[in-house]
Symmetry: C2
Subunit: 236 residues, 2 copies
DNA sequence: GTAAAACCTTGATTTGAATCAAGGGGAGGT
DNA sequence: ACCTCCCCTTGATTCAAATCAAGGTTTTAC
């Protein structure tokens, strides 16, 4: 039985088993992972690592929510990902280079599992199922970045906002209604605009009958209109 | 000895050996790769695959130059990567999803090597050196995208242009001088602006004594000034 | 439960860069 | 060498969204 070297608690295989990256692993392989796993608890708004720091292992969100982001010198923020339970992050410096290409911060109180680099690399290079899962995960992220670059470069703010609402409505299983999982200030940093602009665009989308906004909840009144807007659209 | 199934020619292991992705492979493994490799010749401006097409293998630039890019509905283009000899592309749908997240086109007459998915995946899952190389390659690309998103979202055009010139000057071993490897129209699509703006900004950077532009060649007159501009800077 | 702190909205103004428009210069083909 | 086409430049104008400014509202903390 493996004991967590930091907290001293037995680290539960059950949690690792639910993580997509580790699907298809044998019980023994999961036990090995559990043996090297370290769990850390973070409060809301704590920095997990910073752009440029040296990375030395991969991180898994066990509970809570984190953002991966870049800051400009004058303090503007661009969010690259928001990850919830089951997602892994911080892999890039494990496989290439030394430093993190971006920073990570909790958006809520979060439990994070850390797997130190060397033993994780040993495992991945002897476990084809794990390396294929990892390749799939990095590929998924490349795909997501492709879409984000396209949005930032080729689409205007209303289209990006419409696309975000449609993405939420796919993730959440409440057709015709969507709940914003983050503040509008964070949403602005995610789609590459400002809170003021978010506010104005949501209002305009309300005025034109696409949606109805109540604080954190948005009713989708005209899904086709939103799709149209997200693809090519200009608002109004 | 392995024979290319399309062209019928013997496919040279020597070329595969020079490709970073295949460094550290044994002679036998390279022979296996050579056995499944297909070489294709493209003219300048030919489409290799398109955004949304199903992918069924990885591609390697043997000679020439290609761009990976996204198009908007109204025809605007954002270039994601420009790859020369030795670079691989088209991996995402091999590991995740089915379709290409972007399009690929030659910028020059190019020879492209194709490795069909199934046999490549077989090899990668039995060859730790290959899977680690692949993970490093995808990680390198994630890092590059991170920088591109930061540039598009947090930096203005003069800063992006300065950063591009500095990147070129690192790649090319001619200190104080840089040769543009692509047309200014393509450069505009790479850094997310228009040819008119490129033209104006290069002129301004000339006026302020940072650089001296002669058609395709740029002399770097004030490297520190360029670095400053690329980081935080505003021009003039 | 109340105060403080975030967060959000709305309006006025500025600004960086796109677009529209037209003319100039090179490179490649005949 | 000449013509054509493409690429590039320059100027005038427009436009989307950022910024600046101030007031209102929700959330969090004590």
């Amino acid at each position: 039985m493996s004991v967590n070297p930091i907290t001293g608690e037995v680290y539960r295989i059950d949690i690792l088993k639910t993580i997509p990256l580790f699907s298809g692993l044998t019980g023994d392989q999961l036990k090995t992972l559990a043996g090297i796993a370290v769990r850390m608890a973070f409060k809301r708004g704590e920095i997990i690592f910073q752009d440029g720091d040296n990375g030395n292992g991969i991180y898994i969100v066990e509970s809570g929510k984190i953002k991966i982001y870049k800051l400009s010198l004058d303090g503007k923020e661009q969010i690259l990902h928001i990850f919830g339970p089951g997602h892994t992050f911080g892999e890039v410096p494990v496989f290439q280079g030394k430093s993190f290409p971006a920073s990570a911060m909790t958006l809520e109180p979060s439990d994070i599992v850390f797997l130190p680099r060397d033993r994780f690399v040993d495992l991945i290079s002897t476990t084809p199922a794990l390396s294929m899962n990892m390749l799939a995960d990095l590929s998924r992220r490349l795909r997501a970045f492709t879409i984000q670059i396209e949005a930032l470069s080729l689409k205007e703010v209303p289209a990006r906002l419409a696309a975000y609402i449609l993405t939420l409505s796919k993730e959440q299983k409440t057709p015709g209604q969507v709940r914003l999982p983050i503040s509008k200030a964070q949403l602005a940093n995610l789609i590459g605009t400002t809170p003021e602009t978010i506010s104005r665009m949501l209002k305009k989308m309300g005025d034109t009958g696409l949606i109805d906004v109540q604080t954190k909840t948005i009713d989708i009144l005209d899904k086709d209109g939103l799709i149209e807007l997200s693809e090519s659209g200009r608002l109004q």
